[in-house]
Amino acid sequence: MNTISDKDLVEILPPEAVTLRFERSSFGTRFAAQLVDVLITYLSLFALLLAIIFIFRILNEGVFTFVILLSFFIRSPYYIFTELVWNGQTIGKKLSKICVVSADGKTLTPYQVVVRNLMKEAEVFFPISMLFGVISSSGTVKLICFFWLCVTLIYPLRSKYNQRLGDVIAGTFVVEKPKIVFLEDVAERRTKRAQFFDFDPEQLDSYGRFELQTLEDIIRAPEKTKEARERKLRAAKAIHKKIGYPHTIPLGKEILFLEDFYVQQRQYLESKNLFGDLRENKHYKE
């Protein structure tokens, strides 16, 4: 289980008044999603142009005009409609498993969707089309556009939650769609067998919640490789030393030692916690 640092989380408060934490999506993921969407919109436009040519057997300026006008119908509206219909997900976002959420914790409004996608037009597409000469423009204009493009591309890298300018104005975050994983409780392993090791309260005073959860990860890790097993042995040794356990651990019983310690430590911390003695980590005494 990978751990997520707090700065990667965006918190929103829904009307139900329990804060929810989403993982913000990385710049790379968003870029990939964007790439897919750009491909989809432009390929469909191209396909349409081909269809017109082959079905009606005409190719003149009128057709080109029609397609250029249509590109305005396809580009922004594509993002706006898909994000509205699929609750903040375009096809590209669906594939890269990210979605748009409203920062105020309420339902994503059509206004927010429209603003963030219209701003995308001004942030990215417009300067690019100016820069690469789709629309003719002078050197000074190109320079300004290049500068503007740099600003809009660097901004999300520097901003607090990887927000683009459009996200800031619309009040939206782009987050990873949470993947629900239901894992067994490692304490269950212990309850299926007899208890071998017994720890007294003084020994259980050494650690807090953080260490307990680290231990949970260590126990949960499958013992496929030699290193994984080594890690468990090292952990058992470290705990044995830290809590000053009087007896030596019998050979081959290290895993049982870890599991027994985990269950009793958890039970101990949970009952402490119940009466307000919150031990976040081993430094709780300070």
């Binding site: 289980m1 006008l69 409609f81 609750n87 629309i135 629900i180 212990r190 958890r266």
Partner: protein, 346 residues
């Protein structure tokens, strides 16, 4: 080392009991989420919808207990993600797309225009002022034309061009081989769309550039008009411009109004912070921007197709100004009957 046996049905850990008691409901919520995402929330029966709402609140309740008391990290993370996913399903926008579009066309857009009539009026004012000054400058000295109108836009329409040439740019049938009508109009469209986007965007940088650019566009227009006017084609160019220009030039003024709303939100945010002011005023600004885009698209179709079909100047005048009048009626009269409409979002 004792050999105490812990019975399965007598679990000593609070967190394990907590999990056992609620697990069924969490799993049921997970299944409902999956169904909602696969088949849509519309596939739900009344009982299922009830179940979803009930289980969602239950899961949130579990989450808030778990955060403060549960030490099991896997369980905590499961609950965090379950609730977040459920949130996305429960708080999905329920409105229909057609409904949104219809409501905006009837209420949102015209109401935004009415609420901001001062900005709109000022946009039109700076455009007309520009036209007046452009016309005046050209009358003084024709070389002003080259200062304001770029060569790419004029397509040979410049001081010194013959009257026949100028006439041929307005009506079909000259043998001067102008750019194909459609291509030129799409170029003009992208040109005007660009101007509108610029004018809107410039508003953020403290209003003035927005009005200045609108004014400058007026000057170009004034020069253009004056060129034809001095060649005795004043009425014809007016008709030629009218058929699409009424709506197109209005669109630029609307974009100017939208941009300056943003600018004023930054310049004079009132009691709010600048960011908050920008966010709240941004709604009207966006509505005006959308209105401008719709108008530009309409203008482009008129310019690309209708103008080639309609050659008679009187018809051109008639069509152009009727569309203008319809537009004005739309923003003045549409959606007056039901509140301000601003309490709803776009």
């Amino acid at each position: 080392m004792g050999d105490m046996l812990l019975e399965n049905d007598d679990i000593a850990l609070r967190s394990m009991r907590f999990r056992k008691e609620r697990e069924a409901q969490w799993k049921s919520l997970h299944e409902l989420i999956d169904q909602a995402e696969r088949k849509g929330i519309h596939s739900f029966s009344y009982e299922q919808a009830n179940e979803l709402s009930k289980n969602y609140r239950m899961a949130l309740n579990s989450l808030s207990i778990a955060r403060s008391t549960i030490m099991d990290k896997a369980l905590l993370q499961y609950l965090e993600r379950l609730c977040s996913r459920a949130y996305l399903v429960v708080h999905a926008p329920p409105k229909s797309l057609a409904g949104i579009i219809w409501k905006q066309l009837v209420f949102g857009l015209p109401q935004a225009a009415r609420d901001n009539w001062k900005y709109l009026l000022f946009g039109f004012f700076s455009m007309l002022l520009g036209v007046w000054i452009g016309f005046g400058l050209f009358a003084q000295d024709e070389s002003w034309f080259f200062t304001f109108v770029g060569s790419s836009l004029s397509d040979g329409r410049a001081p010194g061009a013959s009257q026949e040439y100028l006439r041929s740019t307005i009506y079909d049938g000259g043998d001067y081989g102008h750019q194909e009508a459609g291509g030129f109009s799409s170029f003009l469209f992208s040109h005007n769309a660009r101007i509108a986007i610029f004018i809107f965007g410039m508003g953020v940088f403290a209003v003035v550039p927005s009005y200045l650019l609108t004014f400058y566009n007026g000057v170009v227009l004034g020069c253009f008009y004056a060129l034809f006017h001095t060649n005795g084609l004043g009425f014809d160019i007016f008709a030629w411009l009218s058929i699409h220009g009424v709506i197109e030039i209005s669109a630029i003024c609307v974009a100017c109004a939208g941009g300056s709303i943003l600018g004023f939100a930054i310049l004079a945010p009132g009691p709010k912070t600048r960011k908050a002011a920008l966010q709240s005023r941004g709604k009207d600004a966006t509505k005006l921007a959308i209105m401008a885009i719709l108008m530009l698209i309409l203008a482009a179709f008129i310019e690309g197709y209708l103008r080639q079909w309609v050659q008679d100047p009187y018809w051109r005048l008639g069509v152009g100004w009727s569309i203008g009048a319809l537009w004005l009626m739309w923003i003045v009269f549409s959606g007056r009957n039901r509140g301000t409409g601003n309490e709803h979002n776009i």
